[in-house]
Symmetry: C2
Subunit: 124 residues, 2 copies
């Protein structure tokens, strides 16, 4: 994992102090927002996340979950012991990406007919 802190403990902007740039340093890739989407839709476990339509590789999923946790967008907690199993959930910072996803959905639905929002999963 990349260290983006200075010696004094303050976050150093990796590329620039532009808010868009900083956001893209967190979720500017093909997978991160899809994981956020799935968590918003109600998924929480590794196997639920990995079984999405886009077929993310397991190492990429594990890597993104670690980054998302490091960036403060999700938390990881054990939902059982023996054997220990984990589930992920969005923090307030992660939840607040909803308007971003909504804007993307609106744009895509306008310009790419045929796309369809995925349904929420039934609560456990």
């Amino acid at each position: 994992m990349k260290d983006d802190k200075t010696v004094e403990g303050k976050v150093a902007f990796e590329r620039s102090c532009c808010p868009i740039t900083h956001a893209l340093d967190i979720f500017g890739d093909k997978w991160t927002l899809l994981i956020v989407r799935d968590l918003i839709l109600g998924k929480s476990r590794y196997l639920e996340l990995i079984s999405s339509a886009e077929k993310i590789a397991s190492n990429i999923l594990a890597d993104r979950l670690k980054r998302l946790e490091a960036a403060g967008l999700i938390t990881r907690r054990a939902y059982q012991q023996k054997p220990v199993r984990y589930e992920y959930s969005l923090t307030e910072k992660g939840e607040s990406l909803k308007p971003v996803l909504s804007a993307i959905i609106s744009w895509s639905q306008k310009h790419h007919p045929g796309t369809q929002i995925f349904p929420a999963v039934e609560p456990r």
Copy 2:
């Protein structure tokens, strides 16, 4: 450049028909939305785009401009002959990404104090 059409001429969704996924197939990387940002801010020429704070490599910029044009988000036209020089501008599809960028800016400003919106460039 990747061909994403089927034989019948219809767009085949590369990963899934989710609107978010399809959008990320277009701008899900660290650079594309920064180029869109710069075009919105009033930049239009290659040298203006390449001189942004984030120091994009020239081959990456050229590649992203081609992809953006292929995706219908920007157009390229010569603004002079002898020698021929080009400028880029957003199409309606590209302009309509503004709400997406606004949402990202709002999110980032809320969660990353210290980020600052870049100023528009003075019109030519």
